[in-house]
């Protein structure tokens, strides 16, 4: 029963999101054609009023908003996200071709910053008040509070421009010929280091703090005291009793991370010219590419809703108190 009402709740949420996705981009002034006539240092296209109207009609943008909305919904129900106005190709294709880069970047950094955050948070709490704790607390909070684009630029200037250890940007050497797939993977990883490092540094603070706090409250619990009374070693208590219990809130965190997996990288992708979804989103806003914007938002929204749904269900299962409410 509870599962069903939850499910209905999520369906309503998705419907609302779809509507917002549709109307929000269109509420911005301007239309997709203005971008053609933009200000770049090149030859502009000349377009008469009639041609302009003809183009808008081609994209169905001349119809009343309500009709456009209905068409969009009907298309969606068939799984059709429409065609991008700028690229003139299916929205799905444009997203998928970039999604793998974004997943590579966020996937790598998520694994590393979660593990590192959990480990450092636990260690820090265990050594609470000691030099080791204060030292890591101050360091991590300081570097993590830099905005990502600033941090990214710093890393790019230092490690790429000055030391030339890593590439300045991009996801691989374009036009390179590789002897084997391994060499290619190595090139991709080489390009991944700086953007991933930026994300890891920027996001580790959250996990670290959460783990540290959660660990602190666990350490005050009675069963830790009884574990100590049993004469168990400190390491054993930390690993087998404390960390396990302190990880609970991190589950929630993991669910919330899903949205970051796709969207949290706009600035990093911009700084490192990384060909991901974040970059695409940024450019699509400038281009007023309505279908593409809708598609990207939909992607993000649905993954967040699904992640929350899973987290909700997990909680029901984990914690009887939630189920009884």
């Amino acid at each position: 029963m509870h599962y069903i009402s939850k499910l209905t709740y999520y369906l309503v949420i998705i419907l609302i999101i779809l509507s917002i996705n549709f109307f929000l981009p269109r509420a911005m002034p301007g239309d997709p054609l203005a971008y053609v006539l933009g200000e770049n240092p090149d030859m502009p296209t000349r377009m008469t009023e009639e041609e302009r109207e003809m183009r808008l009609a081609e994209y169905g943008l001349d119809k009343p908003l309500l009709e456009q909305y209905l068409n969009y919904m009907v298309g969606l129900s068939r799984g059709d996200l429409g065609c991008s106005i700028y690229y003139n190709t299916p929205v799905m294709d444009e997203i998928l071709v970039r999604l793998k880069w974004t997943l590579l970047l966020t996937g790598t950094s998520t694994v590393i910053y979660m593990l590192l955050g959990i480990f450092l948070g636990a260690e820090s709490a265990w050594a609470r008040g000691k030099k080791k704790d204060t030292g890591s607390l101050i360091t991590i909070l300081t570097v993590s509070s830099f905005p990502t684009f600033f941090l990214g630029t710093l890393l790019a200037i230092f490690f790429a421009a000055n030391l030339d250890l890593f590439p300045l940007g991009g996801a691989r050497i374009i036009g390179a010929s590789y002897a084997n797939p391994f060499e290619k993977a190595l090139d991709i990883l080489h390009h991944l280091v700086l953007p991933a490092a930026t994300l890891i540094i920027a996001h580790i603070g959250g996990t670290y703090l959460l783990m540290r706090n959660s660990m602190l409250s666990v350490l005050g619990a009675d069963y830790i005291l009884s574990a100590r009374a049993k004469g168990l070693s400190e390491r054993y208590i930390m690993n087998r009793h404390a960390i396990k219990n302190a990880l609970l809130p991190v589950v929630t965190m993991a669910a919330l991370t899903v949205q970051f997996m796709i969207i949290g990288t706009i600035f990093v992708e911009k700084v490192f010219a990384y060909p991901g979804v974040g970059n695409l989103l940024y450019d699509s806003v400038l281009r007023r590419d309505y279908p593409l914007l809708q598609g990207i938002f939909l992607f993000i929204a649905i993954s967040v809703v699904i992640a929350n749904f899973i987290a909700d269900m997990t909680y029901l299962w984990l914690d009887p108190r939630v189920r009884d409410e």
Binding site: M28, P29, D42, N88, I118, P167, G170, L247, A273
Partner: protein
């Protein structure tokens, strides 16, 4: 305890999921095809902008993004009847041409050696087919609209066509013959939806380059040489234009071999001036930044009054803006819009030298005499009241210019409210005439066609004289007559000030000469006025580079030049490219100088 185990399992499941994503990505990415380049290939990498702005869509004739960089990427693959080099129009698919006295009949003699990338022979049929196809799908090819001028195309023999126009068209040789990509009939005759036609067949042209890969996500175009090219020998094996995050740093790191800078990027360019590894050429951007006034009779008070606009023109110190914003990377603009380096430039347009006294006198005479806190007030009974105050829109890029203008106009008692916005938004205000003033720029000012109203931004400007003069120059074939009319157009703009031009930035090409040394700026811009340096002729052994190594140096000197230069041992015959005929390709830099035609580049 069981639950805690579950929690741990879940956390690790999440991490494993992430790791799986990562693994999936790596595998997916590693499996993608990559083209093996052979060692020793000459690869040239050029900056196409930032990632995101370096993508101009698929480079097929009907799918490229209809702006200069999009056209240029397509033009590597497809040739036109004529083309342009540093000095002006040169033959391409047409070896030569003739025009009838009435200017309505053009005969083109086609190149007999041209082949399509798939090996098929190029003939007159393809040319006729292209003209017919462009007419059938008018509006689908969004890059130009002049196909209306063409009445019909007649095939005389396999390599001669006659193009008949409905009326004379002064710019035919450039705007149509030098602009319209010729399509292979054997492919396009079965294509009924050209804007959706992509794939390998859609990029088969006659151009010097063939497409290897286009990648929209990473924003790069990868080309390889078409060694069978009819119009010269290829000196480059592969060419890549790609997005980078920072052009100057990428050049220095050697990630790219060439990059474009313009305007306020002068500081980045200056870093390369003393660097022996790089060379710099400066070109005209054919771009202008201007203030657009609202001249609309109903909505534009008081900027719809030409005298008022002149007061503002006198009140703006353009030299200060060039100095402060561009650090010398540009010049104060021609008030008649067209670029000083264009052949159509009129040097006699009113300059509106900075003159506060004159500006004040005009404003006083218009009745804006009363001042509150130094700001003039609207006269009583006017359409507006209170402070003489305007909203000035601009994109973030030109905020500094806006601030300078704000400070300057305050001195003559005009208050400016500077409002940054994005271009798409500003464009919608412009189209609805819902604005006072806008700072905005556009390119294409080598070609008088850009002055058509309302296609350029001053759409609120109404002048019958202007419109009729514009129409007349479009059909005037005699260069001097047409130039006179274009001069008048520029004077009208300078007099009436629907826009007040601020500056023309310079554009620079910074390159590594060890990789490629043939970069040049095209006379009046590529095609109909694209100011960038990506002219496909850079890939060819060109005049002056007799031994076709892409560099002009002593080894290119031929026997005639050696004699002239009084060197004892001639190393080569006059047939510098050793194709056993003596033709234009053998003509080198020194010879061109003697012939009175400036070479592209000379060391």
């Amino acid at each position: 305890m069981k639950k805690q185990k579950t929690v741990i399992t879940l956390v690790f499941a999440a991490l494993i999921c992430s790791a799986a994503c990562m693994a999936f990505s790596v595998t997916a990415l590693a499996e993608e095809d990559n083209v093996a380049a052979t060692d020793g290939d000459r690869i040239v990498r050029s900056v196409g902008g930032e990632v995101g702005t370096s993508d101009w869509r698929y480079p097929a004739p009907f799918t490229f993004y209809p702006r200069g960089p999009g056209y240029v990427r397509m033009s590597m693959l497809f040739d036109t009847l004529t083309w342009k080099d540093a000095n002006g129009v040169v033959p391409a698919l047409a070896n030569g041409w003739r025009v009838s006295d009435d200017g309505k009949t053009w005969t083109f003699y086609l190149n007999k050696d041209a082949r399509w990338h798939d090996g098929e022979q190029f003939t007159a049929d393809d040319v006729k087919f292209t003209f017919d196809y462009m007419k059938d799908y008018e509006g689908e090819f969004t890059w130009f609209e002049a196909i209306d001028y063409v009445d019909n195309v007649e095939i005389v023999d396999d390599y001669t066509v006659i193009v008949s126009l409905n009326e004379p068209m002064a710019s035919f040789l450039v705007d149509i013959a030098g602009n319209m990509p010729i399509l292979p009939e054997h492919i396009w005759s079965s294509v009924s939806d050209p804007t959706k036609f992509t794939g390998d067949d859609a990029v088969i042209g006659t151009g010097p380059m063939k497409l290897v890969e286009y990648n929209s996500a990473e924003g790069f175009y990868h080309y390889e040489a078409n060694y069978d090219y009819y119009n010269g020998k290829l000196i480059v094996d592969e060419f890549i234009t790609m997005g980078v995050s920072n052009a100057a740093a990428s050049l220095k790191n050697g990630d790219v071999d060439e990059a474009t800078f313009w305007g306020s990027a002068v500081d980045a360019v200056n870093e390369f001036v003393d660097d022996d590894d790089f060379e710099i050429i400066t070109g005209p951007s054919f771009w202008v930044l201007q203030i657009i006034f609202n001249c609309d009779a109903d909505k534009g008070y008081p900027t719809n009054n030409v005298t008022f606009r002149r007061a503002i023109a006198y009140g703006i110190d353009r030299e200060e803006i060039v100095e402060q914003k561009l650090h010398g990377g540009g010049v104060a603009a021609n008030t008649g819009i067209l670029h000083p380096d264009a052949i159509w430039y009129n040097p006699d347009c009113e300059g509106y030298a900075y003159n506060v006294a004159e500006a004040n006198a005009i404003l006083d005479s218009l009745g804006f005499t009363e001042k509150v806190d130094g700001i003039r007030q609207y006269p009583s009974g006017a359409e507006r009241s209170g402070d003489l105050k305007f909203v000035l829109y601009t994109t973030g890029k030109y905020l500094r210019e806006g601030e300078l203008i704000q400070a300057q106009l305050e001195k003559i008692g005009i208050k400016i409210e500077l409002t940054p916005s994005d271009w798409t938004t500003i464009d919608s205000y412009l189209r609805d005439a819902e604005f006072d003033m806008v700072i905005s720029g556009h390119g294409g000012i080598a070609n008088p066609q850009i002055m058509r109203i309302p296609d350029w931004p001053a759409s609120t400007y109404q002048s019958e004289e202007y419109t009729s003069t514009f129409a007349e120059q479009e059909v005037t074939l005699d260069f001097d007559d047409r130039k006179e009319l274009v001069n008048q157009l520029q004077e009208m703009v300078a007099e009436d000030l629907p826009v007040y031009t601020l500056y023309h930035p310079y554009i620079w090409c910074v390159y590594n000469p060890d990789v490629l040394d043939t970069w040049f700026y095209t006379r009046d811009g590529i095609c109909i006025g694209i100011p960038i340096e990506l002219n496909k002729l850079i890939f060819l052994a060109r005049y002056g580079d007799a031994n076709e190594n892409g560099k002009i140096n002593m080894q290119d000197v031929t026997v005639i030049e050696r004699m002239i230069m009084e060197l004892d041992e001639p190393t080569d015959m006059a047939d510098a490219n050793k194709d056993e005929t003596i033709n234009m390709l053998d003509v080198t830099c020194v010879e061109l100088t003697i012939l009175g035609r400036a070479p592209i580049r000379c060391e």
